[in-house]
């Protein structure tokens, strides 16, 4: 609380300012056709503190992906690339769900380096080496298996993960949905 309580007139002025700000936010939201539909989405936090781990890839990305094929369930950028051929972000990471033991095994087998304590982000503001970003989960999220053998989260769960990680991104979601495979899976373009 400030030293001097705000007068009622000051509160009124602030309320009017806030109303105008809200009106602009509301109009911006509604400028996207998908606004109402997206209200149904419950975000899922892939980078949930305490659950997310990150470590630099020690081998080529495709090799790590292949090595973890039976243990990881890919999501976000990795799943988007596998499903649509189009990524979400520029950072060339692998993003997926796995158990803690799978993650530890990836360290032991030299697929990834020592886990990094900070800087957890799928869209860093700086260039860093390619990472494996894992959400450690004992119960796997719903997934589908691709002809390649890679497992990816279901489309609905991918949308939830995008919401929970990047926030509401109508531009990105619209672009992604336009490439959603209607029958079967798009040719994987992981590179």
């Amino acid at each position: 609380m400030s030293v001097r309580p705000r007068t009622t007139a000051e509160r009124w002025a602030r309320f009017q300012r806030d109303q105008e700000t809200y009106r602009r936010i509301s109009l911006t939201r509604r400028s996207h056709e998908r606004f109402r539909r997206d209200l149904a989405v419950v975000p899922h936090l892939f980078l949930l503190p305490g659950r997310a781990r990150m470590a630099a890839l020690q081998q080529p990305r495709d090799a790590v992906r292949a090595a973890l094929r039976s243990e990881a369930i890919w999501t976000l950028d990795t799943a988007a690339r596998l499903l649509t051929g189009l990524g979400l972000v520029t950072s060339p990471d692998l993003t997926g769900y796995m158990t803690e033991s799978s993650f530890d095994r990836a360290v032991e087998e030299g697929l990834i380096g020592t886990p990094i304590a900070g800087g957890l982000s799928i869209d860093p503001l700086y260039h860093r080496p390619p990472m494996l970003i894992a959400h450690l989960a004992d119960d796997p999220p719903p997934f589908t298996t691709l002809p390649s053998g890679d497992r990816v989260v279901t489309w609905q769960f991918l949308i939830r993960d995008i919401f929970g990680t990047l926030g509401w991104r109508p531009d990105l979601l619209t672009r992604l949905e336009a490439r959603r495979p209607t029958a079967g899976i798009a040719e994987p373009l992981i590179t």
Binding site: M1, P5, R17, S26, R36, A40, P43, L48, G164
Partner: protein, 244 residues
């Protein structure tokens, strides 16, 4: 001034109930959380009580005198009263005569009058009696008020408190029906924006408390309860039926 704890707030309501202001003041705002939950932190620095602004306009001197007798000194030009014990109490106005945002009350004691609160308090079951004495907003009304509150700086906190109240009462059929009815009394676009705001607040506080802001940071670590509240809110508002 210092943040009031739950005991202090409820004790103050008991004293108000025993005073001539007893049936006039309704515990609300973030301090209203103390009236509906024993587990949700209110994270507030003052006590908000609702008052009929038209009654304040007519009985201004009486209000000021009764507040003096309760140990509160009025801060001129404000709706704020402070006590020697360090409590700060704000009057927040509603009206039974109109549903409009405006400044009401009297010349010495002007109070903000909020259309949303006026509408909510005109609906059945808006308040309930506290076991120890005093009146508070009902859980559903508090949740609705918090969802609809418009303020930039502390907006996230309002939405998070609403989600926590909803999550805590999610198993109560009466609560859910009450809240559904309250929200139905408002235009659909207001509810859609409230839902979008609540989701944004949940994301911010769960992912990055620095982005969420200091007012909301105290709710970090309550992710599962917040997500539960959002899921119930989506069902109540029909948003969950808009699945692609």
């Amino acid at each position: 001034m210092r943040p009031p704890d739950r005991f202090e707030v409820l004790e103050l309501l008991r004293r108000i109930q025993a005073s001539p202001l007893g049936d006039r003041l309704i515990l609300a705002g973030s301090s209203g959380v103390y009236g509906v939950s024993e587990t949700i932190p209110a994270l507030t620095e003052d006590v908000d009580v609702l008052v009929d602004a038209d009654w304040v306009a007519a009985e201004e001197e009486i209000v000021l005198e009764h507040m003096r007798q309760l140990g509160f000194q009025h801060q001129p030009g404000t709706p704020t009263f402070t006590s020697a014990a360090g409590l700060s109490l704000d009057l927040v106005g509603y009206s039974r005569n109109d549903i409009a945002d405006r400044i009401g009350g009297g010349k010495a004691l002007p109070v903000m009058v909020f259309a949303d609160l006026s509408r909510l308090l005109s609906l059945p079951g808006s308040t309930r009696e506290l076991p120890g004495g005093g009146t508070t907003l009902s859980a559903a009304t508090l949740a609705a008020a918090k969802l609809l509150t418009i303020r930039v700086e502390k907006g996230s906190k309002d939405k998070l408190q609403a989600l926590l109240v909803i999550a805590e009462n999610a198993g109560d059929d009466d609560f859910r029906e009450h809240l559904r009815g309250l929200l139905a009394a408002f235009p659909g676009d207001r509810i859609e924006d409230a839902l979008a705001d609540a989701r944004a607040a949940l994301l911010a506080v769960s992912a990055d408390v620095k982005i969420a802001g200091p007012q909301a940071a105290g709710y970090a670590g309550m992710h599962q309860r917040l997500e539960r509240g959002l899921t119930v809110l989506q069902r109540l508002t029909g948003a969950a039926e808009e699945h692609s």
